[in-house]
């Protein structure tokens, strides 16, 4: 039996800081090859279908942008939270609430048209997401309640709320009882960027703008410095007069607003109406995006494109090889695992030490407890 030993580096390794996402990607590919082989598929062929064919034509790049937009928007917001050591994992719920609140305009006022509709919807979406994110923030700031669990519980509540809306009060009366709202009118649809070549809409632009703005915030402004100080040393932050409670609200509501914007952009751009399910787990995949992008807004743009590709690849292998599109989730999970593992190399050197298995002699004691 081998034992790993970590040896602390005198300072963080810039080399591995840059390389780690790439090493993680290569490891994911290797693990993926094993997975495909186990499923009885030639890995090379599978990879060609998974990673290359979904991006071989221009219209497919548009699809990539459609999938990447919400991932980047949410991931950028989450990176601020995670830098501040605040664990918002309920972005999926904030995404849904953004979609719902933004959609209230075209659903409740279908006659309301004109250039004002869309900006209002986007604003409502951001407010909806931010307000929903304010709940776990308030509970944490006021009662010191664990934000991981509350923000996650609110995801289930949001999903059920959306389900109720589209089956109940917001259902399209002329929709043959399908659980969906009316189709939005034209002024409530997020326009496509280049309709001539594909479906990509303004959501992708929002994502890029958000990434740049958050990058400026984090690297050039006092608030960003505050986030980083409170994240790495709350004690030092307190001495500097930074308020941890205000930071909880700031981080949650910023990420909530971006998730909400992603939600309403998805509903108004890619879907065009509300349905019982409006997200294939973007809020959770964005957690992976945030880490894969090193919690750096610009890295997150690249990571968002990679994760978007895993979604498209999942769909591609499902239709071409008959493998469940859940394979996308597996790839995403493995990617996060390997990124986290490789990040260890930034701070530590790893030494392998050969050893006789010592871990087993204590086992009977735990056995007794069963």
């Amino acid at each position: 039996m081998m034992r790993l030993e970590l040896v602390k580096r005198p300072q963080r390794s810039m080399l591995f800081s840059a390389l780690s996402p790439f090493i993680a990607f290569v490891l994911t590919i290797i693990a993926g090859a094993i997975l495909f082989a186990l499923l009885g598929v030639n890995p090379l062929k599978a990879f060609q279908i998974y990673f290359l064919e979904p991006v071989s034509q221009v219209w497919q790049l548009h699809e990539l942008a459609i999938k990447a937009a919400p991932l980047i928007l949410i991931g950028v917001g989450l990176s601020v939270c995670y830098r501040a050591n605040i664990w918002n994992i309920g972005a999926e719920g904030q995404f849904i609430l953004g979609g719902i609140v933004g959609s209230s305009i075209p659903v409740l006022f279908p006659q309301f048209e004109g250039p004002l509709v869309l900006p209002l919807m986007l604003l409502f979406g951001m407010v909806g997401g931010a307000a929903y994110a304010a709940i776990p923030a308030l509970l944490k700031a006021r009662f010191n309640t664990n934000e991981i669990l509350t923000s996650l519980m609110l995801v289930y509540v949001a999903q059920l709320f959306l389900d109720w809306l589209v089956r109940g009060p917001w259902r399209d009366p002329k929709g043959f009882n399908f659980p969906q709202t009316i189709q939005f009118n034209d002024s409530a649809i997020l326009p496509e960027l280049m309709p001539a070549s594909g479906r990509a809409n303004w959501g992708f632009v929002f994502a890029l703008v958000a990434a740049v703005l958050v990058w400026i915030l984090m690297s050039r402004m006092l608030k960003g410095f505050e986030v980083r100080v409170l994240g790495s040393s709350p004690r030092a932050g307190r001495f500097a007069g930074f308020g941890i409670k205000r930071m909880v609200f700031f981080a949650f509501m910023l990420s909530g607003a971006l998730a909400g914007l992603a939600g309403i952009s998805e509903v108004s751009g890619a879907i065009g109406q509300l349905q019982p399910v409006i997200s294939p787990g973007y809020g959770f995949a964005a957690i992976i995006v945030a880490f894969l992008g090193r919690l750096n807004p610009l890295g997150i743009v690249a990571a968002g494109l990679v994760l978007a590709l895993t979604y498209l690849g999942g769909e591609a292998v499902q239709s071409a090889l008959g493998i469940s599109d859940k394979v996308a989730r597996v790839f995403q999970g493995m990617l996060l695992f390997f990124v986290l593992g490789c990040d260890t190399l930034i701070h530590y050197r790893i030494r392998l030490i050969g050893l006789a298995a010592p871990t087993l002699e204590a086992a009977p004691k735990l056995e007794e407890a069963r």
Binding site: N144, L152, F337, T344, R370
Partner: protein
């Protein structure tokens, strides 16, 4: 009377997976490790339990497979957080995400198949007794395991030297290490124990609760189990009480839906999640209580120096 007994039995069935998963996580957290992957390990146990039971026809083999799969899956987390000192929150999350994806993939061919169900206990003479017969002697085997497990963990943590050591590691890994205690080794075993428990809890879902495979069938129970540990302020008997309160909420909302109470079914379905939030708020309001009971080094990575 019969209705009351039936309701109590269903509450026990709903509470059992929560109890087992939470008791496992309690041991993990008492050792100072926060494993947010309970939901992922649980769903792996559910798919493994169903699959093995379905393929072999024996629910008992399914049960063993569920435990084994949960334990093996938790080993991934252990290697990452304990040997590679990764961030426990992020690693736990990725374990959950990976588990949900992997189980969905493994389970594609099981959807809609009839599964094997673990038989309820049936002791001639005893089980047929009125009222208490079925409550005490007529439940599924995992129910009895869950009660025994709770008692065993209570005894282990508070009455044995090893349990004391485990708790001391959770409170200060540096001091424990300085005393020559193998911090990492203890934590490995605790995490694997927690994984086995989560797997068993998942197995209960697919072998007893609803003997079939449905994607995401854990439906957030792993997260509720995590909340239960906080709610119980890391005490086994309070986990037991909490699990049964939540079982009652879960069953209560199902019954309310069946009776056609004029409230949207979605609102009723969201009650367990809302109740979790309320309970967490109530318990965390009392800052001193939480501060006193939380294992002091919970969630902090530990790298032994030489």
């Amino acid at each position: 009377m019969d209705i009351t007994v039936n309701i109590l039995l269903t509450i026990a069935t709903a509470a059992t997976p929560l109890l087992i998963a939470a008791i496992g996580e309690l041991v993990v957290e008492r050792s100072g490790v926060l494993n947010l992957g309970v939901e992922g390990m649980m769903i792996m146990g559910a798919v493994g339990g169903f699959g093995a039971g379905y393929l072999t026809g024996s629910p008992w083999i399914g049960l063993l497979a569920a435990i084994a799969l949960g334990a093996v899956f938790s080993l991934l987390f252990a290697v990452m957080t304990l040997s590679l000192a990764t961030n426990q929150v992020a690693t736990g999350l990725s374990l959950t995400l990976l588990g949900l994806g992997l189980s969905g993939m493994m389970g594609t061919s099981f959807v809609g198949q009839p599964g094997a169900r673990l038989p309820n206990l049936d002791i001639p003479g005893l089980t047929a007794m009125p009222v208490i017969g079925r409550l005490l002697f007529g439940q599924d085997p995992i129910f009895y395991i869950s009660i025994a497990l709770t008692a065993a963990v209570m005894w282990f943590l508070f009455k044995t030297r090893t349990g004391l050591t485990l708790r001391s590691i959770g409170d200060s890994h540096t001091s424990a290490h300085a005393l020559g205690i193998k911090v990492i080794r203890y934590r490995y075993l605790a995490v694997i124990f927690g994984g086995a428990c989560a797997g068993l809890a998942g197995g209960h879902l697919s072998l007893v609760y609803t003997p079939q495979w449905v994607e995401n069938m854990t439906a957030g129970r792993g997260w509720i189990a995590l909340a239960l540990v906080v709610f119980a302020s890391w005490r086994p008997w309070r986990v037991l009480a909490g699990a049964y309160i939540f079982g009652a909420v879960w069953i209560g909302q199902l019954h309310a839906q069946a009776f056609g109470i004029p409230v949207p079914s979605q609102l009723l379905s969201s009650l367990p999640y809302l109740a979790t939030i309320v309970v967490l708020v109530l318990i965390s309001r009392n800052k001193r209580l939480t501060m006193m009971n939380t294992p002091a080094s919970l969630g902090q990575p530990f790298v032994p120096d030489r």
